[in-house]
């Protein structure tokens, strides 16, 4: 159970870590749009290379990033199969009975793989590896702050998110303890049929729920004791400031975006 990592924040001192979390959310957004802008082999090549540039800038080991891509391998494989076998085109590469593989299909599959890879790597670099979950919720709260004007309880949502994230490790610990306690009473979690295994979850889930409610109650009381009353007039402990490098990063990202658009005008090879 201990091996479950959430947030996956990787502490390091790098250009990426140093950016303002709000700017990182904006950059992640633009970068994901970038992955949809690319149309031909050159722009996809540049996009693919940019992902590795970002990894280098974040000083996060490549192996760690590749490990986070592993869960989506299935989706990637699925995309490849779908595109290779079902895209119709003009230049046929391979033909056997009912299977027709076109050059266009292969290229589309390749482009889709690059697009998904870049999206995942970009989003996880900007939003999880270089940013702590708490900083992320803080940044979200401030970015969406203007929505308060139309009566959307932004602060409350951010607080709920913070609390939820804060308690995930606690509940993993708790689950571990309850499982051990029930194992000590002879509960068997590894053998038996599916129905039987579902039944053995009851001795874990009920104590877990009870303790979740107990903790929620205690936390609510502790917050009220400290006069918490929501977001109005609340000052913050860490005040975020945009710095020159944040704007430089934004300009670099916009230039990259414009560059990709420009590259699309090159008429080389297959265009998606």
């Amino acid at each position: 159970m201990k091996s479950i990592t959430l947030g996956q924040y990787y502490p390091a001192r790098s250009l990426m870590h140093g950016l303002d979390p709000r700017m990182k959310i904006i950059l992640a957004f633009i970068y994901i749009i970038c992955s949809f802008v690319a149309k031909n082999i050159i722009s996809f090549g540049v996009l693919f290379a940019s992902a590795f540039l970002l990894i280098a800038l974040s000083k996060i080991p490549l192996s760690l990033i590749l490990r986070s891509v592993r869960p989506i391998l299935f989706i990637l494989a699925f995309t490849v199969v779908l595109n290779v076998f079902w895209t119709k085109g003009e230049v046929i590469l391979f033909e056997w009975k009912f299977i027709h593989i076109y050059y266009e299909g292969v290229m589309t599959a390749l482009f889709m793989v690059v697009r998904i890879f870049v999206m995942i790597v970009g989003a996880s670099l900007f939003l999880t590896y270089t940013i702590t979950p708490i900083a992320l919720t803080d940044a979200i709260e401030q970015l969406f702050g203007p929505l308060k004007k139309i009566k959307i309880p932004v602060h409350e949502f951010a607080m709920m998110m913070t609390i939820a994230l804060r308690f995930i490790p606690t509940f993993i610990d708790e689950t571990d303890k309850i499982m051990s306690a029930q194992k000590a009473r002879g509960a068997d979690f590894s053998n038996g049929s599916l129905a039987k295994r579902a039944k053995v979850l009851i001795p874990i889930l009920i104590p877990l729920f009870v303790s979740a409610f107990r903790r929620a109650d205690e936390l609510a009381i502790a917050m009220e004791c400290r006069c918490y009353h929501g977001g109005d007039g609340r000052t913050r402990m860490t005040i975020l400031h945009y710095r020159a490098r944040d704007f430089l990063a934004l300009i670099a990202m916009l230039l990259f975006f414009a560059g990709l658009l420009a590259l699309n005008f090159l008429k080389i090879g297959y265009t998606m």
Partner: protein, 281 residues
Amino acid sequence: MAEIKLENVSYVYSEGTPFEISALEGINLTIKSGIVTGIIGHTGSGKSTLVQMLNGLVKPASGKVLIDNKDIWENPKEISKVRSRVGLVMQYPEYQLFEETVRADIAFGPKNMGVEEKDIEELVLEAADFVGLDRELLDKSPFDLSGGQKRRAAIAGIIAMRPEVLVLDEPAAGLDPSGREKIMQSIIGYGKSTGASIVIVSHSMEDMARFCDEIVVLSDGKLLMSGKKEEVFLRSKELVSVGLDIPQITSVMNMLSQSGIKVASNIYTVEDALSEIYKLF
């Protein structure tokens, strides 16, 4: 009855990651049968890991855990049998209650062991009697009980499995003095009337002095000392140096004897101290 032996046991948390912590290192220890053994050590000394090894919840990274000279990890599939021989009550056991009635909750352990339905009822009633839980409470929901009663119900859940060794991790933590006393007495009572050995993890030197025959002292994952309580308490300087203490009454009696009053220094309970002082008159 069962004798538990640890041979050169070590345990490491998060092995192979940068967060690697060694929890236990080269522990050699024998927990004799039929007596009360106390395990003490400050927070983080590896006590909880050690007790979870006794019933096979935690598998040692190296070394062996032997019960009656048989390695419990020889056949990992049979490990649940060990758990019914060595009953472990974890810290704050009341958080593991889940059934609709106290009766059903206490019966959970024996049921898992495959005890027949007609014998379970008897085990449940006996267990409730051992911990001093009123029989009327058995049909209530465990969540309606008071804190002390919940604790006793949870301990009864382990006692109902009739373990040969009853291991308790801080059984009295967070209870008021009378609750502590009741819990400790019922645990000792179980050991006395069934001949089972008892292992108690505690911070309280007073409890250790009153109830234990042998004491094991852990410090930073290593075995600092183990033996009869008299021998352990004689080494008070070493105990203090690892952040532990000898019972208050023992230090009082030591101070008295140092200031020239003729009392014995091997006194561990207030009752013994009283009778020792009466001897002076």
